[in-house]
């Protein structure tokens, strides 16, 4: 028995060594996709196999694992040909040399510019984008029939509805959460990284403590300081909202399916303007990318250009992912849905989330500043100054 166990162990070891050196195959497409994309890809796979006679294998990975596993497996030849991912991975993937540019050809004009720009690095485009997302104001129509368009109207509604005794809240957003808070800071002029003349992000120019950023956060903090808005995390926010205890919340289209399920009559609209400036939320774009280590780059490109970048697949992807499509023919059709129109409007004001790897230095420091400010431990200006100092030091140390 003991020997048998040893034998099995040795066997598995030998196989794993073989797995280690087996190269990704020519003449077969391997795709890494997350759970939501798998369903759509499976039907595309059947079409592709029928038409081209080339086998396609789809492996399911958790969305976040796709990027991390690429860094380990692609260089050793074990990686896929195509991955599903988000545009903010671009910096890390490109500077790691893990993805290859895509030749979109004539199809380039069929996508929203903002989606192509989000996936561009230098002169190259690195993905076939399929979805876009941006946060906006989600309001419960039973509590807030007319969403506010100016911050002062917004503030009045929030103060009016909130009643802590009754556990009713006018407005909730997840905190400490830089991603969700950014629109308030960017509306009046805050930014994460400045751009140089060619439009390339400059990691040495951090604008999170400029006048506009401070003003915007101050306005938000007034509500927290007066105890009108509770300091809660994402889960608490959504569960309060689905209970009908919240008038408005700030988040993205991913929260909508749960609201529908809970039977809340909601609307999705743009955030209120701050002193006349529309808030600029972070725009996130998802797309299909090709591995730099793929041995089937031309084939992968044909798969994406012909079988993914078409109206039918893009609409399927929209329906399973509940994010608006960025492929124009599909977006037009999907815009009949008011949620989609709302997200697209919100995104139209937005700015792509910076995709340079230096963004890693930003989140923690920024999040800490938000927590200190909104829990009334520090004033807005010194907290943001300190955050920017932390960010600059971290970036400097990495250069």
């Amino acid at each position: 028995m003991k020997k048998f166990v040893v034998f099995l162990l040795v066997l598995t070891m030998l196989f794993s060594i073989n797995a280690l050196v087996a190269a990704s195959e020519e003449g077969k497409l391997l795709i890494w996709a997350d759970e939501n994309r798998i369903k759509v890809l499976n039907s595309v796979k059947d079409q592709f196999e029928a038409e081209y006679g080339i086998p396609v294998e789809i492996q399911e990975k958790a969305f976040g694992d796709i990027r991390d596993n690429m860094a380990v497996e692609a260089p050793s030849g074990e990686g896929p040909d195509i991955i599903v991912g988000a545009h903010d991975w671009l910096g890390a993937l490109v500077s790691n040399g893990l993805i290859a540019p895509i030749e979109l050809g004539d199809k380039r004009d069929d996508f929203y510019d903002v989606a192509i720009n989000a996936f561009s690095w230098g002169e190259n485009v690195y993905a076939v984008p399929y979805a876009i997302e941006a946060v906006g104001l989600i309001y419960n129509k039973d509590i807030v029939p007319d969403p506010p368009t100016s911050f002062s109207a917004f503030e009045a509604i929030v103060r009016n509805i909130t009643d802590k005794e009754e556990e009713m809240y006018g407005f909730i957003m997840p905190q400490p959460d830089p991603y969700h808070t950014f629109p308030f800071m960017s509306g009046p002029g805050g930014y994460v990284f400045g751009t140089n003349d060619e439009g390339v992000l400059n990691p040495n120019d951090v604008g999170l403590n400029n006048e506009g950023a401070v003003l915007g956060l101050q306005k938000l903090d007034n509500l927290y300081e007066d105890g009108v808005v509770p300091f809660v995390d994402y889960q608490t926010m959504t569960s309060l909202f689905t209970n009908g205890q919240v008038g408005m919340m700030l988040t993205g289209p991913w929260a909508l399916p749960a609201l529908e399920e809970a039977g809340i009559d909601y609307g999705f609209t743009q955030l209120p303007k701050i002193e006349g400036n529309p808030p600029k939320p972070f725009v996130g774009v998802q797309g299909f990318m090709i591995s730099a280590f793929s041995k089937n780059k031309i084939l992968a490109q044909a798969f994406l250009n012909e079988f993914i970048a078409n109206k039918e697949t893009m609409l399927d992807l929209y329906e399973t992912g509940s994010r608006p499509p960025v492929y124009l023919p599909a977006a037009e059709e999907a815009s009949d849905n008011p949620d989609v129109a709302g997200v697209l409007k919100s995104a139209a004001d937005g700015t792509p989330m910076p995709s340079i790897p230096e963004m890693a230095s930003v989140w923690e420091a920024w999040s800490d500043a938000l927590e200190l400010v909104l829990t009334q431990k520090q004033d807005v200006k010194p907290a943001l100054d300190n955050a920017v100092e932390q960010i600059e030091k971290a970036i400097e140390a990495s250069q």
Binding site: N96, G105, S361
Partner: protein
């Protein structure tokens, strides 16, 4: 009977070794063709050792030791050496690939020259050979024929183009046969790598439907170890894991390279590390010591209660008390996090109904530390209770009887008999529990991600960050993302700190020696 048994075992052994060797040979050929010589050497050595051990009578005892040793080396020693190795490199975001891989990628980078244009094409192939002829058609209607590396302009009436069935598509070029779309895809792996010289440019496949003119952008000059940008005429030399120009412009991607002691020097000199280090270090100690002391105290107390003979329903109590240990810590910590939520948590709501002040569990440094100790106590006391229960059984009853005769009080019995004897057997476990909590990343990170933040901190280090969570932030959540080199250096330093502490602990308590004497 024993004859058959012996022969059967011998036969089994031979079959086992044969299969093993066959697999090894198979693996070796793959490793050899893939040029993985290090793995190949290891494979050969290991297979040879296995064969020797199982065939030689002399090596008989090794049969039982070898598998264990082998897997210990594979699973314990190898990762340690690998960590040490990585700590001397710049492995991390932007430096994942090897230098050779980067050079290969750069050399395969092409740009479209200003006068580039697309060609539609037909591909033809010699039957049974990987030889191709490409018939190209530019937008002006000129025809080109490329066979092997030669390309020439031809006219439509060229005699080499044959159309035997007269349907207008060319079916054959010389004896090269036209590839249907399906065949084209089968031959794509070769076709996509074709590079046909065309004037100063290269004709390469652009997509399934087109060839296009390209130029190579980068060339590696091995003699000078530099990358030459042919397009812009700039030289790039390797510097700290990137090819950099004299003006400091770096080519992406970078590669991993040996840095020497740089990661360690960063830890010693970087003010971002130095600033909060002392605070974090002290809290790490407090956290580890308090965790051990509180869990042990409560665990032992419960064990003594459970051990009391007059206690009824022992089994029920025991089951209830072990529950926290049986639940996955991952889930229970998150539940605690919800219970202690400042705004909507149950604990604060109870405080509120009692008209007491709510407590900022997650926002105040003191209270979040307090909460962490309580949570870890809840998670950890069942373990201490279990081992104490076992240890209590081993204390001879006559000692207590003698003490009772001498008129010792319960406290005296506990202080002079129970505690010293129990510490002898549990001491080493307490030390390992200390080392475990010293690096107890899960609880710290799941509860509050090391927060709350500290006003005016130089680097995002929170009030409950211990060394391991703090360095996780430094190496994975700052700079440019993941920095495995720095992270490895940190883990080695933390390993040395824990090793020294543990050594002192053993030395000071003499725990291991006394176990031998008393058992």
């Amino acid at each position: 009977m024993s004859f058959w048994k012996n022969n059967f075992l011998y036969l089994a052994k031979i079959i086992f070794l044969s299969i093993l060797d066959a697999l090894a040979v198979w693996s070796a050929t793959i490793l050899f063709t893939e040029h993985k010589y290090i793995f190949l050497t290891i494979l050969i050595v290991v297979t040879a050792i296995i064969n020797f051990i199982y065939l030689s009578k002399k090596a008989y005892p090794l049969r039982y030791i070898f598998p264990g040793t082998f897997f210990m080396i594979l699973l314990v020693v190898y990762p340690i050496f690998y960590t040490v190795y990585v700590s001397f490199t710049n492995y991390g975001t932007g430096h994942i690939l090897s230098k050779d891989q980067v050079i290969e990628q750069l050399e395969n980078r092409y740009y479209l020259p200003g006068d580039s244009q697309d060609f539609s094409y037909e591909a033809f192939k010699l039957p049974n050979e990987k030889e191709y002829a490409i018939l190209l058609n530019d937008k002006q209607g000129n025809l080109y024929l490329a066979i092997n590396q030669n390309i020439e302009e031809i006219n439509a009436g060229d005699p080499r183009l044959r159309d035997p069935d007269g349907d207008g598509t060319i079916d054959q070029v010389k004896n090269y046969k036209r590839l249907s779309r399906g065949d084209l895809l089968k031959n794509l792996s070769t076709l996509q790598n074709l590079e046909i010289p065309f004037n100063d440019n290269i004709l390469k496949m652009k997509s399934l439907n087109a060839f296009s003119l390209y130029r190579q952008q980068y060339k590696y000059v091995a003699s000078e170890d530099k990358i030459l940008d042919i397009k812009n005429n700039v030289e790039y030399f390797p510097k700290k894991g990137s090819f950099a120009s004299s003006e400091g412009e770096k080519l992406l991607p970078g590669f991993r390279t040996f840095l020497g002691w740089e990661n360690y020097l960063t830890l010693l000199t970087d003010e971002r590390v130095q600033g909060p280090f002392l605070r974090v270090f002290l809290w790490t100690f407090e956290w580890a010591i308090l965790s051990v002391v509180t869990t042990f105290a409560l665990g032992l107390f419960m064990a003594i209660l459970l051990n009391d003979e007059s206690l009824r329903f022992k089994k029920i109590y025991r089951v209830i008390l072990i529950l926290p240990y049986a639940l996955p810590a991952f889930i229970s910590v998150l539940i605690w996090r919800g219970l202690l939520n400042t705004e909507v948590g149950v604990v604060n709501q109870i405080l509120q109904t009692l008209s007491l002040d709510t407590i900022p569990w997650l926002q105040s440094v003191f209270w979040s530390r307090f909460a962490l100790i309580v949570i870890n106590l809840w998670l950890g006391f069942p373990y201490m209770m279990l081992i104490s229960l076992g240890a209590l059984q081993s204390i001879p009853n006559d000692l207590y009887e003698a003490a009772a005769i001498d008129g010792a009080t319960g406290w005296q019995r506990f202080k002079n008999i129970t505690l010293p004897l129990i510490l002898v057997s549990i001491g080493p476990l307490l030390i390992s529990s200390f080392a475990f909590n010293f690096n107890n990343f899960n609880v710290i990170y799941l509860f509050n991600e090391g927060g709350p933040p500290i006003v005016g901190a130089q680097t995002p280090a929170g009030g409950t960050d211990i060394l391991i969570s703090y360095t996780y932030r430094l190496s994975f959540e700052s700079g440019r993302g993941a920095d495995f080199g720095l992270a490895s250096a940190v883990s080695i330093i933390i390993f040395m700190i824990t090793a020294v502490i543990t050594w002192f602990n053993f030395k000071y308590t003499g725990a291991l020696e006394e176990v031998k004497e008393n058992v």
